[in-house]
């Protein structure tokens, strides 16, 4: 029985979310029409939602209101530049799109290049070239704390990692003798990095699964009308019927051929 307090939109949301989650997970059995339905709805709704928000946030809030209510007619220039991109769809005036793209590329390159050099090259380089020993008033010391990213031992490991990985991608010299040892060290660093990335990816995917299961458990409650159980049963029945129909169709095809 449904609880009196739950609004209708929450109830509908719970049933739709449960149904679509189950439809998508049916892919784990095999590709099927229920999965395709969920997939197409996801793509369609995402695109539709993006268009509505974009039209409202840009077309209405940033363009229409400032122009009509505040008289900022200069906004017609960027609006025109934006519309000109659509000229690509009309071969006779397709050249107009190049003006907009030139503007986009010029603005992009002008802003991105100096910022990327500053942030991704210079700042990272500065961090990589760290002192390998610590100089204090009492003389030179060496910190061996592996848990402190700024310790001398970690600075040393970073240095070895950066140099060996860079050397591994340096193909002008044949990797033999000492060069081979350095390149292999580089491979080891790369493997550790790939392993860490894979571990985090597994963690991320499991988190998403936990999130969906969490919702399915929540929606199995009586206050929602137990959509998890109802829709799970329905999904299994539909899937079983679809498999039965497929097998029948396969059999009749084989019989026709023979």
């Amino acid at each position: 029985m449904l609880a009196d307090g739950l609004p209708l939109d929450v109830l509908i949301g719970a049933w739709v979310a449960t149904g679509l989650t189950l439809f998508i997970y049916t892919f784990l059995y095999r590709d099927n029409p229920l999965f395709k339905l969920g997939e197409h709805l996801y793509v369609g709704i995402s695109v539709g939602y993006s268009i509505v928000i974009t039209v409202y946030a840009v077309g209405v809030k940033l363009l229409w209101i400032p122009m009509v209510e505040k008289g900022q007619w200069q906004l017609l220039i960027p609006a025109l530049l934006g519309l000109m991109i659509s000229a690509r769809f009309f071969p006779r005036i397709a050249w107009l799109a190049r003006i907009s793209f030139a503007f986009v590329v010029g603005f992009g390159a002008g802003t991105i290049i100096p910022r990327l050099i500053s942030s991704n090259v210079l700042s990272q380089l500065e961090d990589t070239i760290s002192p390998l020993v610590t100089m204090t008033a009492s003389g030179l010391t060496y910190t061996m704390d592996f848990l402190d990213p700024k310790s001398d031992i970690n600075n040393f490991i970073t240095l070895i990692g950066v140099v060996s990985v860079l050397f591994y991608f340096f193909f002008s010299v044949e990797h033999r003798g000492v060069g081979q040892a350095i390149a292999r060290t580089g491979i080891m660093f790369l493997m550790i990095a790939f392993g860490a990335a894979f571990g985090y990816t597994v963690m991320s995917r499991m988190s998403l699964l936990i999130g969906r299961f969490d919702d399915l458990i929540m929606f199995s409650g009586a206050e929602y009308g137990r959509p998890t159980f109802v829709l799970l049963a329905l999904t299994v029945v539909v899937l079983a019927y679809w498999v039965y129909r497929e097998k029948q169709a396969f059999r009749s095809t084989v019989e026709e051929k023979s």
Binding site: Y49, D127, L147, M206, L208, I210, G211, F213
Partner: protein, 284 residues
């Protein structure tokens, strides 16, 4: 002698992957239904975000850019809840926004829900600016003129009329910004086009997939802390002493990781045995 196709090794190496799916599903479901509350250890990168939030005075300006969409909700949404709860608890001025169009509704929902729970008023204690197109251009523009970039908040109220935005004219007036990201645009963009140019303190929260790529920025001090994935969210919940969805999911996370580790080991053992069997067969 040729190894039998029906040997345990060959059976395990060609096992129907759907059995593995069932195993993972059970490893997730059982701990969610019967939690055993495994201990959660706080990592230095999550503590750094928490400590920085703690160090800020009442009334400090906290900008939370929720740069994720529903596809990443299980991981990043609990981070947003925890950070907002912390900021509201400390009576900070909270500015919410998003650079991801499909996350607009969810970002608005989380800030409005947490604010209501904490008794905060829109326009006075917090505001939600919504979404603007342009990603990096939006951040650059906010650094020069925030009101020009967002003339109105998400609900249509002019920025100039909001009490919470009274002394916030550019990004330089923000005491602490955190980007909760699930890809592009996200933490990288906030550092490259925001912090590096306009010099404000920046923290990050991300999906676990993104986290390894952000550690160089963390080590270099480009971001002062990082909340990585559901695990990071659980750590933050523990620091706040407020159990939420992230902490509830940690048992399941540990169980699935354990199953995957066992499967990886088993797979390698069976693969090694099968290679040895093939070598023996070739010799004979």
């Amino acid at each position: 002698m040729k190894p039998s196709n029906h040997s345990i090794v060959s059976m395990m190496l060609t096992i129907d992957r759907r059995y593995i799916f069932v195993l993972i599903a059970l490893a997730t479901l059982i701990p969610l239904l019967n939690p055993i509350n495994l201990p959660i250890v706080i990592s230095p990168e999550v503590r750094a975000v928490y400590d920085h939030m703690e160090s800020l005075p009442e009334g400090a300006v906290f900008l939370l850019s929720m740069d994720f969409d529903p596809a990443s909700k299980p991981e990043v949404y609990p981070q947003a809840i925890s950070l907002l709860r912390h900021a509201f608890k400390k009576n900070m001025k909270v500015i919410g926004m998003t650079l991801v169009v499909t996350g607009t509704g969810m970002a608005e929902e989380v800030i409005a829900t947490v604010a209501e729970d904490m008794g905060k008023i829109n326009g006075i204690d917090y505001t939600f600016l919504g979404w603007r197109p342009g990603a990096s251009a939006v951040i650059l523009s906010m650094g020069q003129d925030l009101a020009g970039t967002f003339p109105q908040d998400h609900y249509g109220t002019p920025i100039d009329e909001l009490f919470v935005m009274e002394h916030v004219k550019t990004l330089r007036d923000v005491d602490y910004a955190v980007s909760l990201a699930a890809g592009f645009p996200g933490i990288d963009e906030w550092y490259i086009y925001g912090k590096d140019k306009y010099q404000f303190e920046l923290g990050g929260g991300s999906t676990a997939v993104m986290a390894p790529g952000l550690y160089p920025r963390l080590r270099g001090g480009q971001i002062n802390g990082l909340i990585g994935g559901l695990r990071g969210a659980a750590e933050y919940e523990k620091l706040l002493d407020q159990s939420g969805k992230a902490m509830a999911g940690m048992d399941a996370q540990s169980a699935t990781h354990f199953v995957i580790i066992v499967l990886v080991i088993l797979c390698n053992v069976f693969y090694a045995i099968s290679r040895q069997q093939k070598r023996g067969w070739r010799r004979t």
